[in-house]
Symmetry: C2
Subunit: 215 residues, 2 copies
């Protein structure tokens, strides 16, 4: 790994690794259209590219820019007071659409993420993390050597250290905290696993202003 | 108990394989509480078990019962006319919460699923399928022999054959059709991959009654 580390760093770019998000935003109000449009307009989209349709929106760009954008969009919608649910998929390592044509490039990701400023909004989330290995993506040439559970357990330890971990659930981990900390927990794990596993996907359902908080 | 295939079939049960769903339902109306409660009350939950909180609901049971329940809940909410979005995670092969303690049991899944009756409701969806291999789950003792992309490509072919495939997107496949066909496509792929890969997760975001259908 030491010889290829320099090469990997030089080759790393968010576009090359297909770094991005797919998200949908659901403010549970009859006036959902202006709430969504207002939220999208309030966030800094200047370094990102978008593909959108009626189901969800794809955002491509650097990790820190994508995470900050999602935080700002969801926060703006929630500040209307509406019960707001967002579903976010973060992906890296599969730049194609159906096929993952990363070749034999070793895993690579930014060394650190800048902190996301606190929003003052309390968020609850169910989060799942999938380090993926396929025939084409290998780490040090040996895909069989990777234990998928290790990075997931490390990510849960990261959530505990940050104070956002609430409990393990079936198929998911429950997180609670400031929206910025919840998205920061998910983003940090996504990038952290990306340093050793090329193809990583994580899904999180985030809820704010629920009338039935049952933490 | 004489050959492996017989043993596997005898050992298969949805509970043993941790078969279930985690879902959230978002009717985009200020009256979302009665819409959600009405939808949950209208579906047949008699053979299922539930764990719920303010973010999402976990449903455990046999594959066909889980898929039929989800279809009925989402259909009932959408029949109010509200723009309704559901996010569904289907999982099999990881019966624990954080760790997957399936042991060395070979992959197994029902030979077929009963068709879900058409709902008459047009649904659009973004769908992602994750055949997962971890250190503990093996197929024929050799986890390195599985190509993750093969079952995904087969699932997309299944969607094309059923007529629900619209296009490939970044990180997802776009499906359109009757809600029952959309959920049937996702469920069929989930069960189909489960016949060869023990641990399979699939996520789908389903939208109905959108004011901005952009198919």
């Amino acid at each position: 790994m030491t010889d290829t580390a320099t090469t990997t760093t030089e080759l790393y770019s968010p576009a090359r690794f297909g770094v991005g998000a797919r998200f949908s935003l659901q403010p549970m109000t009859t006036d959902f259209v202006p709430v969504i449009l207002g939220a999208l307009a309030a966030a800094d989209a200047s370094r990102l590219t978008f593909t959108t349709d009626d189901v969800s929106t794809h955002v491509a760009g650097a990790e820190a820019d994508v995470l900050r954008y999602l935080t700002d969009v969801i926060a703006t919608a929630a500040r209307t007071g509406a019960h707001t649910v967002a579903h976010v998929l973060l992906s890296r390592g599969c730049p194609g659409e159906v096929s993952c044509e990363l070749g034999d490039v070793a895993a690579s990701a930014p060394a650190q993420l800048p902190p996301i400023p606190a929003t003052g909004l309390k968020a609850s989330a169910h989060w799942s993390l999938y380090p993926l290995i396929d025939g084409r993506a290998t780490v040090a040439g040996d895909s069989a050597s990777i234990d998928h559970m290790r990075p997931i357990l490390d990510a849960i330890e990261g959530a505990k250290a940050r104070g956002t971990f609430t409990r393990s659930e079936h198929f998911a981990t429950r997180l609670d905290g400031d929206l910025a900390d919840v998205i920061g927990t998910v983003g940090e794990a996504w990038v952290s696993v990306g340093r050793t596993v090329p193809h990583v996907v994580t899904h999180v359902t985030i809820s704010l202003n629920s009338p039935s908080v049952t933490r």
